[in-house]
Subunit: 182 residues, 2 copies
């Protein structure tokens, strides 16, 4: 139910076409809420029906026309209403955790490999976040009010990835102590 609101936030920052939004979801926002372009187009249609956004067809030289969506006052009201209500607590849902519990019944070596792959993925994302933080927020002690949200989200990502690495290391320590020390 949050895709609508993620789109509203994005449009509040800057009006955009569905294609633009899809790219934003591939980049910054998408690290915390993924959406395919198909899904975005579908939801944008619904949002226009609800009066939260309006679209304008913009012709472009050479390139295909695009529909630029703009948030309406009704959309801004909806966004504020949404922030005023409590966020339902989302609990973990980890296929990886299920796999760990399957350890006694499964392929031990493959699972250990899986942990290593996972650790690498965490490290890569951590590096990406650290880089983003350094680039977009070089001085985190002196942020503009409109920067605080983005910074805090990035911090959450960094903390989560660091924790993921710690967990993987604990797992590897248990399952393959020699391989870990090497």
């Amino acid at each position: 139910m949050a895709l609508e609101h993620a789109i509203l936030v994005s449009l509040a920052e800057k009006s955009a076409s569905g294609y633009d939004l899809a790219r934003r979801f591939d980049a910054s926002i998408g690290h915390f809420w993924q959406a395919s372009h198909q899904q975005i187009y579908k939801v944008l249609g619904r949002m226009e029906g609800d009066g939260w956004v309006e679209s304008e067809l913009v012709a472009q030289g050479g390139r295909p026309d695009k529909k630029v969506y703009v948030m309406t006052p009704a959309g801004r009201d909806e966004l504020e209403l949404w922030t005023s209500k409590a966020t339902p607590i989302e609990h973990l849902r980890s296929e990886f955790a299920v796999k760990l519990r399957a350890l006694p019944f499964g392929d031990f070596a493959a699972i250990v490999d899986d942990v290593r792959v996972r650790r690498r993925a965490h490290q890569e994302r951590l590096a990406y976040y650290a880089d983003s933080a350094a680039r977009f927020y070089p001085d985190p002690d002196d942020l503009r009010p409109d920067e605080i949200g983005g910074w805090l989200v990035l911090r959450g990502g960094i903390l989560a990835e660091e924790t993921g690495i710690v967990w993987c290391d604990e797992i590897l320590q248990r399952l393959d102590p020699e391989g870990t020390e090497r």
Copy 2:
């Protein structure tokens, strides 16, 4: 796609009825993979069709009959096959993160409240996990092989909740420094 496998893991540990499984999902397993009883019954039906499980009707004095499901050799093969394949990396999906990015456009006080609610939820779950760890794994340096998976999953939960609390504290420090110090 992992509900089938979560059920297989659970049945590998002990045969059970749909009702029993639903209760297990409410308790231990469910902290990392939730499922309603409706969903469980539906998936059990499909799994029986695929030959991964077999059911036997058991009459009970007084109480309603129950269908006890037992994992078949084909089910065990499937479980092992599943563990041998890499787990797709699941990325974060946090409505809460979206809400943080909505800070400049939303209800500031309500969002701060939301962080506090969230922090409390993390603390409660952390306490629950810590309690489970103390009760079921009193001596974590000396675990039986079949206990390692459960222990590691619990460790993951503990690490995740601790990180959640740290994140909430960072957020409150930024958004409401006076309220935090009090």
